[in-house]
């Protein structure tokens, strides 16, 4: 077996065994079917709800909110993160605000945002945005600070000044950290968004799970949770596919290390 096949086997052996145990034990009626539905039934339910039920609409809505929240968080977060990593005054200006709001559970701001933006899309998008925004500020700031000082000096000594400093030196230098920060930012956007939908929305993946829970539709609850997990995996996968295209100069090992960070 080649090393990569072996690694793949190691990565998937336990998950597959777990899934197989779930499937057979529920089919055999060893677990209470009211709480533990058959695995393949969950998948059938998921597909059926996606195609025929409301789940498709819920999913599209969640994805729309996610994209808006993430786009906003990425643009503003990177800009503020770079500025505060680069200039001490900016850093001191925003530090108390990021220190206070970064650890604040953004879900607690949902009521406030509903007051400000009404019960429409705005409140959910902004709640998700707030999570990713602070995450991206902090990781971008960290990447800027971590650029080796001799690289900055080399850039200046070889004439990368003014806007060139940013386009030809700083952004390429922070690109790996930036990408990792964006990945984390998008994942946290998704987590908060689905949680906010669960708590207060009428539509969306989270709202669907809440609804199904209230109706004791166990299979639909599971189907929703599985979809949430799949969305998270897709985000990671997307960034893993994009990274070698954006950063062709990175050593494969570095890339893997960047992708493994939790």
């Amino acid at each position: 077996m080649s090393p990569s096949v072996y690694r793949g086997a190691q990565a998937w052996a336990i998950p597959i065994v777990l899934l197989a145990v779930w499937e057979t034990s529920t089919r055999a009626g060893l677990l209470d079917p009211r709480f533990f539905p058959v695995l393949s039934d969950i998948l059938v339910t998921a597909v059926d709800q996606l195609v025929n039920g409301r789940l498709g609409l819920d999913l599209v809505l969640t994805l729309q909110r996610l994209m808006m929240a993430f786009a906003l968080a990425a643009v503003l977060g990177v800009a503020i993160g770079v500025a505060s990593g680069r200039w001490r005054t900016v850093e001191l200006l925003i530090r108390p605000i990021t220190d206070t709001l970064y650890p604040l559970p953004k879900i607690a701001l949902l009521p406030l945002f509903i007051i400000i933006f009404g019960r429409g899309e705005g409140a959910y998008v902004i709640t998700a945005f707030a999570t990713g925004f602070f995450q991206i500020i902090i990781s971008t700031r960290g990447s800027v600070r971590d650029v080796p000082s001799d690289l900055i000096e080399a850039g200046r000594n070889f004439g990368a000044t003014g806007t060139r400093f940013f386009t030809r030196l700083l952004f390429p230098a922070i690109a790996p950290g930036l990408l990792n920060g964006l990945r984390l930012g998008m994942a946290t956007c998704l987590i908060t968004l689905v949680a906010a939908e669960f708590v207060g929305a009428e539509y969306g993946l989270g709202a669907m799970i809440r609804r199904a829970g209230q109706q004791f539709a166990v299979e639909e609850v599971y189907a929703g949770i599985v979809l949430a997990g799949v969305l998270g995996l897709l985000i990671n996968l997307a960034f893993r596919l994009v990274t070698p295209i954006v950063l062709p100069w990175q050593r494969p090992a570095q890339r893997a290390a960047g992708g493994q960070k939790v």
Binding site: W12, F35, I97, P105, G142, F198, G213
Partner: protein
Amino acid sequence: MRRALGEKWPLFVGPVFILLTWELLSRADVIRPTFFPPPTEILIRAGIIFDAGSGMGGDIIATLLRVLATIFFAVLIGVALGIAITASQWMERGTNTVLAFLYPIPGVLFFPFLTFLLGRTEMAIILTALVTPLIVMVLYTVAGVRSIDRTLLEVADNYGADGARRFFGILVPGALPSIVTGIRVSLGFTLIAVIAIEMVGASNGLGQFLWSNWQILRVTDMYVALLIIAVLGLLSSVGFDAVADRMLPWRRDVQGAQT
């Protein structure tokens, strides 16, 4: 590096500017004081924390206890599990796949399922809150064990450290910096999960206080709850760092890889 306070003036500009603008706009009725009461009024209203009649003291304690119980179990189970699975590559890689799938799922989504099983009990709340912090603790513990110098492990083997001695003498202290960082991250997730669960499914706690006061539009009380949650957030991050740095002065040197 110590700097004169004179150079740190921008630290105060942001908060002072925001609070002052808010205060003035609210007092001048530019923004509706029903929804955005002036900060001074919120601060005065914060006195209800100590008013037994409001019941808010009890809510704070309920949230605190839930957070502490969750983080306690997350650390206990997470560290043990994390170290155990490093014994086998099959276990470690396999668990990694499972956790990579579970990690981005908001823990609160497991609440309906756990209430099916356990009813609307404290147990259901804590188990729900436990999901994400537990995953975090396992991941950081594994990363911590992986960060231990291989030669150190070889030395331990060579000198016959095995069983409990290997566990408590080498693995736990070696992984400690990463574990401590994991606890900090877990605390953040615990607070999020507990507040979110309280908002939808608890009869007390800060999240419940926040949500119910918002629904009857007692907005000032909602802000008081937000203020306290923000303080808890600060304690879980900046406060935690201050304590951890004092207890493990070398933590900052080694944690780099995980942050």
